[in-house]
């Protein structure tokens, strides 16, 4: 799934409202975390974007470049992992891999499945520059 800006009218200059809104929430959350450890700047932000999350990673990366301006994440690098889809079958209880539009149980072929992995949008890790206490004066 890829939304090229010439194919989807709601993408303007590589940015779509949905991803921009997600980035704003992301930066708010990162700012809270940074403040809690007195961090001055943010290094790398690691996200997990599931194939079924309705969020397009490339659009998210572009929206991030816009949303981070003037924030504690202004220099931050965004690292996006796309997990494989995993489902659990309600009929035979098997756990198996699946695709965005084929979420059937690989074991029994049943369609009553639950997505365990792959439909979420998660903030996984934030690397922060935390000021060290100044070293004791050397004599």
């Amino acid at each position: 799934m890829a939304f090229a800006s010439d194919q989807v009218p709601c993408v303007r200059r590589g940015v779509r409202v949905h991803e921009l809104s997600i980035c704003q929430a992301l930066i708010d959350e990162v700012a809270k975390i940074a403040a809690s450890v007195d961090a001055r700047t943010v290094g790398r932000i690691t996200l997990e974007v599931g194939p079924l999350s309705g969020v397009e990673p490339e659009l998210l990366a572009r929206a991030f470049e816009v949303a981070r301006t003037g924030t504690c994440a202004a220099e931050a690098e965004l690292s996006i992992a796309v997990p494989d889809i995993v489902v659990r079958c309600s009929d035979c209880d098997a756990t198996s891999p699946a695709q965005v539009n084929r979420l059937l149980c690989a074991s029994c072929g049943g369609y009553r499945t639950r997505v365990l992995e792959g439909d979420g949008l998660k903030l996984r890790a934030v690397e922060l520059d935390v000021p060290e206490a100044p070293p004791a004066a050397l004599h």
């Binding site: 939304f3 989807v8 009218p9 709601c10 779509r16 409202v17 949905h18 809104s21 997600i22 704003q24 929430a25 992301l26 959350e29 975390i33 450890v37 961090a39 290094g43 079924l52 999350s53 309705g54 969020v55 489902v87 309600s90 699946a98 965005v100 539009n101 084929r102 979420l103 059937l104 369609y111 009553r112 499945t113 639950r114 997505v115 365990l116 992995e117 439909d119 979420g120 949008l121 998660k122 903030l123 996984r124 890790a125 934030v126 690397e127 922060l128 520059d129 935390v130 000021p131 060290e132 100044p134 070293p135 004066a137 050397l138 004599h139």
Partner: protein
């Protein structure tokens, strides 16, 4: 000796060396947080508002031209004697759809989004200022015609209904998995045309829907010349009498909720 490796730290420059070390000291905070956009907070607020007034809110989505407004007109004709209905309409431009609904004797508020290709919770919240919910049983929110973006925006509705028109491809559920997975009901609309649309195989459409891993029912409607709405009206009646607490699967909760 040299001023970069730290071996010439003195009392005088220790603070500078300390700052340099701090810049290279990173700390990684491991987080496990679902990101909830601001939209979802407003959506929860809308949903609480609906629940307070006992109103069932249904988000109606489809491609442009699949027959949402016509279905609503026919539905109002069938049900307005027994239920108090109102509609929020979403379009980029024009008041046309809200005008059609009002002509049926039912309150309708039109949201014109300008360029936004989907409704969001904030727009719906503003529309509710013009739509008193007291005494209402059923609120339809007719979303902007679009099978992509609306699926990602919780409006505060209790149920998502997605129309798949007989004039579209029967593989649409496979092409738009996020939208069709979000559906609590899929309606095969303009079903009276199936006789002349040989390429559309309802069994293939159902198989594509089933492959999305849910029990979502798929029913047929014809809303124009000879309305055939029995299955749709039966589903509505069932929802109106069922507990509202079950919100539809929203993107961030699919790992947790079980299928309805």
């Amino acid at each position: 000796m040299c001023d970069t490796c730290g071996c010439t730290i003195t009392a005088g420059n220790a603070h500078l060396a300390g700052a340099d070390r701090a810049a290279r000291t990173g700390t990684t905070v491991e987080v496990l947080k679902d990101l909830l956009a601001a939209n979802d907070r407003v959506a929860e607020h809308n949903r609480a508002h609906f629940d307070e007034h006992g109103v069932l809110a249904i988000n109606l989505m489809s491609s442009p031209g699949a027959g949402k407004t016509t279905l609503l007109e026919a539905t109002i004709q069938a049900l307005s004697g027994r239920y108090r209905i109102a509609v929020i309409e979403g379009d980029l431009e024009t008041d046309n759809d809200a005008a059609r609904i009002r002509a049926q004797g039912v309150p309708a508020v039109q949201i014109t989004t300008g360029t936004a290709c989907h409704l969001d919770a904030h727009l719906v919240h503003r529309a509710l200022h013009d739509l008193p919910l007291a005494g209402l049983d059923l609120l339809f929110i007719e979303n902007v015609g679009n099978l992509v973006c609306p699926a990602s925006f919780d409006l505060g509705q209790h149920r998502n209904v997605v129309l798949l028109c007989a004039t579209e491809g029967d593989d649409k559920p496979a092409k738009y998995p996020v939208m069709f997975r979000a559906a609590d009901l899929v309606i095969l609309s303009k079903a009276d045309l199936l006789g002349v649309l040989e390429d559309f195989d309802p069994a293939r459409a159902e198989a594509a829907l089933r492959a999305l891993g849910r029990d979502t029912p798929i029913i047929r409607t014809a809303a124009r010349r000879a309305p055939a709405l029995a299955a749709w009206l039966a589903w509505l009646e069932q929802q109106l009498s069922a507990p509202r607490a079950l919100a539809p699967l929203r993107p961030l909760e699919r790992g947790v909720n079980t299928s309805v």
